[in-house]
């Protein structure tokens, strides 16, 4: 074990959430739950990234009273990256949900294994 586990507990929790999301993606049979797992996975990466930019005791990077010293504000880069990331994850979940609707219209089930079983039984 490295030296910084106690100090980095927030990141450790983010990592555990990443694993939980991934487990949902691999193990859940229901497609909607898979999508939720995917969202959890993305959110945990963003949490991890935002914790990178956080500096104890410093403020939001919005210039107040003309103070422009580095020591006054936190790192603005991770916040910008996370903003981009959130947009991407919204578009991806909307796409996945619409795929879910179409799939359910066609096969009346949300279980991918069952769908592929049916496909093989139909001999398609």
């Amino acid at each position: 074990m490295g030296p910084n586990l106690i100090a980095n507990y927030g990141e450790a929790i983010a990592m555990i959430m990443f694993a939980i999301g991934m487990g949902n993606l691999l193990l859940q049979k229901n497609l909607i739950k898979k999508i939720i797992g995917l969202n959890i996975m993305d959110s945990s990466v963003y949490l991890f990234l935002a914790l990178k930019g956080y500096i104890t005791g410093r403020k939001v990077p919005i210039v107040v009273d003309g103070i422009q010293e580095v020591t006054a504000y936190i790192n603005p880069i991770p916040a910008g990256l996370v903003l981009t990331g959130i947009v991407v994850s919204v578009s991806v979940s909307a796409l996945m949900l619409s795929l879910t609707i179409r799939l359910y219209k066609r096969y009346h089930t949300l279980d991918l294994d069952e769908i592929s079983l049916r496909l093989r039984q139909e001999g398609l």
């Binding site: 991934m22 990466v45 990234l49 981009t84 996945m96 179409r102 991918l112 496909l119």
Partner: protein, 502 residues
Amino acid sequence: MQFVQNFPFFCIILTLFSGSVCAVLKSKPARIVNTILITIVGILNACVLAFEIKTGESYTYMMGHFPAPWGNEIRIGVLEAGMALFFCVIMLLSMLGGKHKVLTEIAKEKQNLYYVLVNLLLSSLIALVYTNDIFTAYVFVEINTISACGLIMIRQNGRTIEAAVRYMIMSLLGSGLLLMGICMLYDITGHLLMSNIKQTLEATYASGKLDVPLLVSVAFMCIGLAIKSALFPFHAWLPDAYGYSTVSSAAILSSLVSKGYIFLLIKIIYRVVGFEIFRDTHIINVLFIFGLCGMIFGSVSAIRENDIRRMIAFSSVAQIGYIYMGIGLGTEVGMAASIFHILSHAATKSMLFIAAIGLTEVSDGSRHFIKLTGAGFRNKIAGLTFMAGSLSMVGVPIFAGFISKLLFAQAATVNKGKMLPVLICLGISTILNAIYFMKTVIRIYTPIDDKTFEENKCSVIKARQVPLYTVTCILFIIVNVVLGTMSDPIMDLITKGLSMFA
């Protein structure tokens, strides 16, 4: 700064802009815009390539008013320009060859949206090729993923929707891993620009410690991109996605989308991590073993298929195994061979898909082997193209596949430890390739009698009736033969480009 140096930026902006333009146009103008756009982008990239060969130096292009670590940046070298040009050529040929299928298989009011997807896919590919910033690469990887999903499910039946869902799940898992790797790399180096990350990493490496976070982040990025480009254990989504989508999509997906990710991986290896550090991490051995397994397993699965499109799709798995095997050799020569194989496989696989559609058209739209008997006589130009593609896949001289296999064998002899497994797998894989491709070629050139002709509802298409398709097929064969016969200058360019990467 010369005016030519602006061209890569023009390419990216033009393709992005034309995406939103096509959304408001009707389907026919959208198609014309798309064709003209791909041609223009190809010409611009050819100018950039000529400029690069003349000067022999790479340059960076600021995206905005602020220099490198603060603003975004793209970087142009010989390899990037050549790759972008090649992608444009293959995309243009695939779109032309599958045009008549797009017209019939996609609902009338949704056709212009198809061209939106294709334009944005092209823009993301060019941006992936040129970018010098690792987070920009992530954003464009997402555009690439979503538009590829759109390309799969635009022909709407149950199979394609299911394939798209599988594709999206695997791809998004890959994107998540890639993003995680990028975040960790950002944490330990503090930069997002490729060249700066490399400088910082080299400084830490010189001090003699190769720490855990670096290893984990590189592993995550590699696995993420491997999942997205369908390396062997992660290929479950591939056959359905390539087998049931409309033919232009299948050709573009197999030859461009997965190759874009592999090119990004090579770029990360060279420009972000550094080749020496990457070689010392042992991740290279994992890629090597998976590549070897993929070569054998893909070919075995292809033999067992009796659907021609799925067979070609499984053959893709094998060929992607070749590419990863070349990367895994861990030598400059192996990497150059891999890049040449990216070119040759992209040219050959799209050609096979386009030829296969010609063969199935004359057999009542059925893709089963039995129905395809004698299809080579009924659509001669498609049969000829399919035969050329098969010969290239098997590795017959004067075609591109032969050169890439030769290069792999040469690269293997440099590396003493990995020589034997590479040569054995190369041999076995070539034999397996020969079995299933020659089986198909013999099948399509077996004559049938009139009774079966009637029973199978066969038809005859002459080369004159489909002039566009004929021209595309001939151009495909010419591209393949050019790659196969003029390999020396191309290899020179690749080695030069790789040395410019560093």
